[in-house]
């Protein structure tokens, strides 16, 4: 989506942005780093045992004192095992705890964000922020950081030991290491670009799978298996080519770098010969250098590949923090939260009862990503308990009014009042707790029929649930699923659209809301059922303030007020009779029916 500013580099790879999350684990991370240093220190000590054995026992042809060496070795070994256990376990815990905290934070944030955010970002995009970015960040701050500590410390100690043992040889080693470092850096730069391409193709292939699975029926009915398969093969072919290119680069890098390490070995041998012949160093010293020559290139490579991983992860950090900092277009003010509580810890004791008067006062509205005003200086008074119908062509803006009543959006200017008080003066949850909303494309959750119906009122009894099902004539659908304990699959599974509409209607009724919104709630329900529900709708809407959006005009004839919407404007309003007498748009509308 927002590809443009993703390659921007952040100071310190963006890690400072994570400080609020890292704070909790400060002590643990500091301890981990300390242990990492100790472990690497011990690693650098090992070759010295070998040297000691050669220079002391072998050269002097005696085994006296070997017991002490063994004892020291064992102590050090055990110490290292304990240290490694502790630091690896802590790294794992920090990684997983960070992941958990980041995911929870992202999920909570998502619960607060406004609809405009969901309209601008696809589900897949947001899902990746919650599930995959967090994992990558957690890995970076634990294992990757520890990798840098372990290997960095090893190099540091090795250089230190080499400098202490022999400066000339150490100088050669440092020179070669610097050369290797430059080389690795050069390759990594190419790899970063290639890996980005791989990720892009990977995302495409995941999307292909997604489409193949969710669009399976359409693919079958259109008979386009062959075409889809061919296109998929094009994508996997591209993926292979890109990956092979990256594979070649990394093969070049690894062979070049190991070549460097062998050359370091050759140099040590060459210089070592001269030095030993001149009696400047012992053979044992030479063997120490050779172990370092072999042992240092790999840590160097690990550090550099981790640095490039940090570069890649900046994107994830950037996206993740952008999500957390995303301002909610609609949110409660601190004063409101103080009085009513927020969405996670509501202060229900302070909640007023709701009557259901709704008033639009001089409302002008424009969608955050829109260019034109959808409403201009709109006034409307809806007394509690009235039934408002909204009519108009597809895309005329009927849903906008409803969105404002539900406070899914807030007016650009003017006020929406409920019971005479601006909606912004009470909490979102207060409003939503008194709201029933049935959508044209209803969403059911996976789970049992009971769980779905209880969604709006968790304490509803089976009796009440059955009653709600009866009112909307959805008993048959529930029976077919296997009763209240019957499973509803992902997104409604085997139910027809009409049945899903009925169940979501039952769900709304069960919640016993003061404000009821039916957005094309029964568009896919058959006439007989609809007629039967018609009576139910009348009973249910009685005493509640209700907004009904409908194409089928039979549903709205008895409304207290009908609004006719066209091009985002209300062009007519009145009762059925008044509008018919007017012989305007509504009249024409009825004629064609």
């Amino acid at each position: 989506m927002n590809n443009k500013n993703e390659s921007r580099s952040l100071p310190l790879f963006g890690i400072p942005r994570l400080f609020p999350f890292l704070k909790k684990y400060r002590a643990k991370i500091a301890f981990m780093i300390l242990l990492g240093f100790l472990s690497s220190l011990i690693d650098t000590i090992y070759p010295l045992f070998n040297r000691y054995a050669i220079d002391h026992f072998v050269a002097e042809k005696t085994l006296d004192g070997i017991g002490v060496m063994v004892a020291v070795y064992l102590v050090i070994l055990l110490l290292q095992v304990v240290i490694n256990y502790r630091s690896m376990l802590d790294s794992g815990k920090v990684e997983m705890s960070m992941n958990r905290d980041l995911r929870n934070a992202a999920f909570s944030k998502i619960q607060m964000l406004s609809f405009s955010y969901f309209n601008q970002n696809s589900v897949g995009y947001i899902h990746a922020r919650i599930m995959s970015d967090t994992g990558k960040i957690g890995e970076a701050v634990s294992w990757r950081m520890m990798d840098c500590v372990w290997n960095g410390a090893y190099i540091l100690f090795a250089v230190f030991v080499m400098l202490a043992v022999d400066r000339v040889l150490a100088g050669w080693m440092l020179l070669l290491m610097a050369a290797a470092g430059v080389m690795i850096w050069f390759f990594q730069k190419a790899l970063v670009v290639q890996n980005r391409q791989i990720r892009e193709w990977n995302a495409k292939i995941s999307a292909d799978f997604n489409e193949g699975v969710t669009g399976a029926r359409t693919i079958k009915l259109l008979g386009i298996e062959k075409r889809m398969d061919r296109e998929f093969e094009e994508d996997t072919g591209n993926m292979r080519r890109t990956s092979v290119r990256a594979g070649r680069t990394s093969a070049q890098m690894i062979s070049a770098v190991t070549l460097m390490s062998s050359i370091a070995l050759a140099v040590v041998l060459w210089q070592g010969q001269i030095l030993t012949r001149e009696g400047l160093i012992r053979i044992g010293t030479l063997s120490v250098f050779m172990s370092y020559a072999l042992g240092m290139i790999e840590p160097l490579q690990t550090i550099i590949s981790n640095i490039s991983a940090f570069i890649a992860i900046q994107v994830n950090i950037e996206r993740f923090t952008r999500l957390l900092n995303e301002p909610a277009q609609v949110q409660d003010t601190p004063e409101v939260i103080r009085l009513y509580g927020d969405s996670f810890s509501p202060a229900r004791e302070n909640w007023e009862d709701i009557r259901g008067d709704v008033e639009f006062r001089d409302v002008t509205f424009r969608y955050p990503d829109g260019e034109e005003n959808v409403l201009e200086h709109f006034d409307l008074k809806v007394p509690a308990g009235s039934n408002i119908a909204i009519v108009g062509e597809t895309g005329a803006g009927k849903t906008t009014l409803v969105n404002l009543v539900c406070r899914f959006y807030e007016p650009t200017s003017g006020q929406v009042l409920i019971d005479g008080k601006d909606v912004r003066e009470r909490s979102l949850l207060w409003l939503h707790s008194h709201l029933g909303y049935v959508l044209q494309s209803p969403h059911l959750f996976s789970g049992t029929v009971r769980e779905n119906l209880q969604y709006g009122r968790p304490d509803a009894t089976d009796e009440e649930i059955r009653e709600a099902l009866r009112i909307v004539h959805a008993q048959a659908a529930a029976e077919r699923l296997g009763g209240l304990d019957g499973k509803i699959g992902e997104g409604g599974g085997s139910l027809s659209t009409g049945e899903k509409q009925l169940l979501s209607f039952a769900r709304a009724i069960l919640a016993d809301p003061r404000l009821l919104i039916l957005d094309e709630a029964t568009s896919s329900v058959d006439t007989v059922t609809e007629r039967a529900i018609q009576e139910a709708i009348k009973t249910v809407t009685m005493g509640r303030t209700s907004f009904v959006i409908a194409h089928r005009l039979s549903t709205i004839r008895d409304a207290d007020l009908i609004l006719v919407v066209e091009d985002g404007r209300i062009i007519e309003q009145g009762t059925h009779r008044e509008l018919m007498d007017k012989r305007g748009a509504y009249y024409d509308y009825q004629r064609t029916r």
Binding site: N50, A53, V58, A59, Y73, L77, L78, N84, Y85, M88, L89, M96, R103, F107, S108, Q111, H127, I205, S206, A207, F209, N210, V213, T218, L221, L222, G223, R227, F232, T236, S243, V244, G247, S250, A251, S255, A256, L269, W270, Q273, I283, S287, M290, F344, E393, L428, H432, L435, G436, Y437, G482, G493, S494, S496, T497, S523, T527, V528, H551, Q590
Partner: protein, 635 residues
């Protein structure tokens, strides 16, 4: 128990199938790896030779021809200039670098080939599997298998399995060189190999089951997030944010717990390796020192032995790693086998073998569209997993070129009937027969059948690509004029014009979100362009307002002249012009006939007609008495 075993070997056999096309590349890669290992071993030999015979003055221990050269002045020559040894070492290193590059390169090519094969087989399988299979399996779960499990297997094969050969070559070579220096010490050094393999096997099943749990829990967590996002309107409208959050956090905590447990096992596994390796080092140092002191080996040999031993460490540790990774890969393979073991529609239904996997005839061409009367005879159908039949004993005949209207209650089996005609669900044995032009649909190749019947779904699915590509998806060679003509019939031209990039507007999940009505109209255009002899409109205009609905219906009526048309609708006005109207109730056809005969009969149809025209009449009351008459002219 036994069955479990055969299932496991079965999934490893699957891997052999995946390796087709990449196996030879993996073998090249392994051969190069062998060469690399051999050259890597030469280094320490040169070092020990240098330390002993060039710097020191012990007689060279070399294979015969080299020894002759060394004795006849070779050593003196090497001693002359110290860089000469260095050049030899560098030369070997260069050769090793070339092979190392080839090894890695072949490995990358082979691994990518393997992944491509796996993905393509999975994809082809998934789009070929019967729809009932898709109904049983959650989308998120299948996708996770196709992406992350494929990755696990690739990593295992390209990093672990190929390294296995290299590991064994390295172990054998290192041991051989070590053996040449001292057999006793070699025997002592190798003691830890069975220890490492032993404890790795001990951890094998523990890692496997811990991984499986964590993997499954990830699926659960991912599904909660997915549902929360797709159902965001419902969550907000019911004010259930707190419930959603606590549900997510609970599962998240559990997921974290599973991973921490897995990490703990892995850590113990690794640390035990550290301990065993460290002890083995100590053993070698002590033994080596003692032998040097007693004069059995030289200092140079000791250094060389020690460096060979260091080379042994990595391969032996890898051996342990291969075992623990194998337990993960085994689980991933089983998860893929779950998808691949199911037969596709092409395999189960077309016993005639007229078509290949792609649904084409042997000569590579699709046969022409099928024609004729469509006959349903005593058709019954029950969805898998349900006890109530969705369609019960349905019989009717549709003459070629006529229009059938289907009216029926919500969930009365209308859509099921049409899906049976398309063979999206196969007819069960002994549950009746559907024929087209006298031929049972079970005898008609699936591809030919579905190419002949165009259906417009109630909730259509659009692919994430441009609008133009979507409309042309099953008629790639349609001309632009033809495309525009169909778009006009579906009344979509205004909508397209309103998009800044017109036909090139990207739609679907990652593009512009179309409204329900816009999607339905796009689906109509997409189907019209196919020019099928049979067309099905399954309540395809439910999300369109009545004025647009009427415009489209008029245009459609003209367009579909000559075709056999099925119309499903709740609106009598849509159906009344049909040559045959079926009224369905609880899976049965309770009435059939034309508009007039059904009205006369005074049953269900007449009742619905009354209800709907009552509405219209009430609308028309006084003010507009002539409305009904005008309505009758439609269609």
């Amino acid at each position: 128990m036994k069955q479990e075993h055969t299932e496991k070997t079965g999934s490893w056999m699957l891997l052999a199938g995946f390796l087709k096309g990449s196996l030879h590349l993996f073998i090249y890669s392994m051969l190069c790896a062998g060469a690399v290992s051999f050259l890597d071993m030469l280094g320490p030999r040169v070092i020990s030779f240098t330390v002993d015979s060039v710097i020191g003055d012990r007689p060279a221990s070399l294979p015969a021809p080299l020894k002759a050269w060394a004795d006849q002045g070779g050593i003196t020559w090497l001693r002359g200039k110290p860089w000469r040894v260095a050049v030899i070492v560098a030369g070997i290193a260069l050769a090793a670098a070339v092979f190392r590059f080839l090894f890695r390169y072949f490995n990358a090519v082979a691994a990518q080939q393997l992944v491509q094969t796996m993905r393509e087989r999975l994809y082809r399988k998934i789009i070929g599997l019967p729809y009932s299979w898709h109904g049983r399996n959650a989308a998120g779960d299948i996708i996770q298998r196709c992406t992350s499990d494929v990755e696990t297997i690739k990593v295992f094969v390209s990093e672990q399995l190929t390294s296995l050969v290299r590991v064994i070559v390295l172990i054998v070579l290192a041991m051989a060189f070590m053996w040449m220096i001292d057999p006793v010490m070699t025997a002592a050094a190798s003691v830890y190999i069975p220890v490492i393999i032993g404890y790795s096997l001990f951890f094998y099943s523990r890692i496997g089951s811990a991984f499986e749990k964590a993997d499954a829990q990830e699926g659960i967590l991912s599904a909660i997030a997915q549902e929360n996002l797709t159902g965001v309107r419902v969550v907000r409208a019911f004010g259930r944010e707190e419930y959603e959050r606590s549900r997510f956090e609970k599962q998240n905590e559990q997921y974290t717990g599973f991973w921490v447990r897995l990490m703990k096992i892995l850590t113990i596994n690794w640390v035990v390796g550290d301990l065993v390796t460290g002890l083995q080092y100590l053993l070698i140092i002590c033994m080596g020192t003692a032998m040097c002191v007693r004069g059995r080996i030289t200092a140079g040999q000791f250094i060389a032995f020690f460096s060979y031993n260091a080379m042994l460490t990595w391969p032996v540790r890898s051996l342990g790693r291969v075992i623990s990774e194998m337990s993960k890969a085994g689980i991933s393979l089983e998860r893929l086998a779950y998808i691949l073991k199911e037969p596709t529609e092409w395999e189960t239904e077309n016993a005639l073998a007229e078509t290949d996997v792609q649904g084409c005839n042997k000569d590579g061409k699709s046969s022409g569209p099928i024609k004729g009367d469509i006959l349903f005879r005593n058709v019954s159908f029950t969805y898998p997993g349900s006890s109530v039949p969705a369609v019960r004993n349905v019989s009717f005949t549709v003459k070629e070129g006529t229009t059938v209207g289907i009216l029926g209650g919500t969930g009365s089996g209308k859509t099921t009937l049409l899906l049976l005609l398309e063979r999206v669900y196969p007819l069960q044995e002994g549950c009746g027969e559907i024929t087209i032009g006298g031929k049972s649909i079970a005898q008609i190749p699936l591809d030919q059948l579905r190419r002949s019947i165009g259906i417009v779904d109630q909730e259509p699915f659009l692919f994430s690509r441009s609008l133009k590509e979507n409309l042309r998806i099953s008629a790639e060679d349609a001309s632009d004029e033809e495309l525009e003509r169909c778009v006009k019939i579906a009344d979509l031209q205004e909508t397209i014009r309103s998009f800044p990039s017109g036909y090139d507007t990207f739609v679907g999940e990652r593009g512009v979100t179309l409204s329900g009505g816009q999607k339905q109209r796009a689906a109509i255009a997409r189907t019209l362009i196919r020019h099928c002899p049979v067309m099905i409109f399954d309540d395809s205009l439910s999300a369109v307002d009545s004025q647009t609905d009427e415009r489209i219906r008029h245009a459609l009526a003209k367009e579909t002249k000559g075709a056999t048309v099925f119309l499903v609708s709740h609106r009598v006005s849509t159906l009344r012009g049909a040559d045959l109207i079926l009224v369905m109730e609880e899976g049965r056809i309770c009435e059939q006939g034309t508009h007039e005969t059904l009205l006369e009969k005074g049953g269900m149809y007449a009742k619905i007609f009354r209800m709907q025209s009552e509405n219209a009449a009430r609308t028309a009351e006084k003010e507009y008495a002539g409305g009904k008459g005008e309505n009758a002219d439609e269609q």
